[in-house]
C-alpha cells in the first residue's frame, strides 16, 4: 500500500508528512512526548513498508524547534531505517537538517546524527 502518512502537530509532538510516491519526508515542530515510542511506532511501520519499494530519491526534511532525549533515540532509529534503504541501493537519500541561526545545540545535534549514520546530511540555517 503506497499510502502517505500525515500527522498534525501538537504542542508536544511534531508535524509528520511522509509522501510515499516522491519520497518527500518531513518532521517539523516540537517533539517532546513522554512516551516517544508510542508516537513514533506508526512512523517506523510506515518506513518499513516504504523500504519495500521506495522512491528512487528520498529527501528527509528535519525542522525541529525542540526534541527531548527519548525522541532523540527515535530519530536515530528512523535514520537507521533509511540508512538500510540506502545501503540496499534502493534510494538516494539526503537529510536536510534545519536549525535556527542562533541555535548551536540544534546545529550540533545534526552534526551528531551525521556522525552516527551513513546518510548525507546538509545542515541548513533558517
Amino acid at each position: 500500500m503506497e499510502e502517505n502518512l500525515i500527522i498534525e502537530g501538537t504542542n508536544k509532538t511534531p508535524v509528520i508528512k511522509f509522501y510515499y510516491e516522491n519520497g518527500a519526508i518531513e518532521i517539523s515542530g516540537k517533539s517532546i512526548p513522554e512516551n516517544s515510542i508510542g508516537f513514533y511506532q506508526p512512523i517506523y511501520s510506515w518506513i518499513d513498508n516504504y523500504a519495500t519499494k521506495p522512491s528512487p530519491k528520498t529527501e528527509i526534511r528535519i525542522n525541529l524547534e525542540y526534541f527531548n532525549t527519548s525522541s532523540s533515540k527515535c530519530l536515530l532509529d528512523i535514520f537507521r531505517k533509511f540508512e538500510s534503504i540506502k545501503k540496499a541501493g534502493k534510494s538516494d537519500i539526503e537529510v536536510l537538517w534545519h536549525y535556527e541561526a542562533d541555535d548551536e545545540d540544534m546545529m550540533e545535534a545534526g552534526d551528531d546524527y551525521n556522525s552516527l549514520v551513513d546518510l548525507t546530511f546538509r545542515l541548513i540555517k533558517v
Binding site: 508536544k12 512516551n35 508510542g38 532525549t69
Partner: protein
C-alpha cells in the same frame, strides 16, 4: 512519616530571590503536558533572548520527564500503597539575578534505585564538555528505550545543555525510600 518536604527548605542557602515557576503536587503525564504551554508563556515573559529561552525550556522538559519517570516507578511500588497517595513531586524555577536561572526538582525514589542514579550523576559531573558529548553519543547509539522513555540519556543531556555541574541530595526517609532533589544551574 515526613512527606512534606519542601525544596525551599532544602535550598534555603541559595536564597531564591525570584521564583518564576513553582509546582508541588502529583506529577502525571497529563499534568506535565498541560504545563508546557504555561511554561513557554512564562519564559516568553521572563527571558529576553530566544536562545536562552530554548535552552531553559529544553532543560526543564528533561527535568520534568525525569521526575515523572521516578514518580511512575515509585507509584508502582508496594511502598506507595503504604503512603496512601501522599506522594508529591516538586519543581521550581528561579532567577539568579542577572547570572542566569536555577531549576530545582524533588521526587521520591526507592533506595534500591538511588545508587544507579547517584553513579550516573557523579559520572557526568566528572566529565568535561567533550567527554559528555562522547558519553551522550555512545549512550544514544547503544541504549534501548523503554515504553516509559528513560534510556538514561536525560541526565547526560541536562548536564550538557546546562553546562554546569549538577547538584543533588538524597534524603533517606526510611529503609525503602528517599527523597531526591536536583538543582540545575543555567547561565
Amino acid at each position: 512519616m515526613d512527606t512534606e518536604i519542601d525544596i525551599n527548605t532544602f535550598y534555603s542557602e541559595m536564597k531564591n530571590e525570584n521564583i518564576i515557576l513553582s509546582y508541588k503536587g502529583d506529577i502525571s503525564q497529563e499534568l506535565i503536558s498541560s504545563l508546557y504551554p504555561i511554561i513557554e508563556n512564562r519564559l516568553e515573559e521572563e527571558v529576553d533572548d530566544q536562545k536562552g529561552r530554548k535552552k531553559i525550556f529544553h532543560v526543564l522538559v528533561e527535568c520534568l520527564q525525569n521526575v515523572l519517570h521516578h514518580m511512575e516507578t515509585f507509584r508502582s511500588s508496594a511502598e506507595f500503597e503504604l503512603m496512601k497517595g501522599n506522594v508529591s513531586g516538586q519543581f521550581m524555577m528561579t532567577r539568579r539575578g542577572d547570572r542566569g536561572y536555577n531549576i530545582f526538582t524533588g521526587n521520591f525514589i526507592l533506595n534500591k534505585n538511588f545508587n544507579v542514579l547517584k553513579e550516573r550523576i557523579d559520572k557526568v559531573n566528572s566529565m568535561d564538555a567533550n567527554e559528555l558529548k562522547a558519553f551522550y553519543l555512545g549512550s544514544l547509539s547503544t541504549s534501548e528505550l523503554s515504553e516509559k522513555g528513560g534510556a538514561g540519556l536525560g541526565i547526560i543531556d541536562i548536564a550538557r545543555k546546562s553546562d554546569n555541574k549538577l547538584e543533588y541530595k538524597i534524603h533517606q526517609l526510611s529503609d525503602v525510600y528517599s527523597f531526591f532533589t536536583l538543582a540545575v544551574k543555567i547561565n
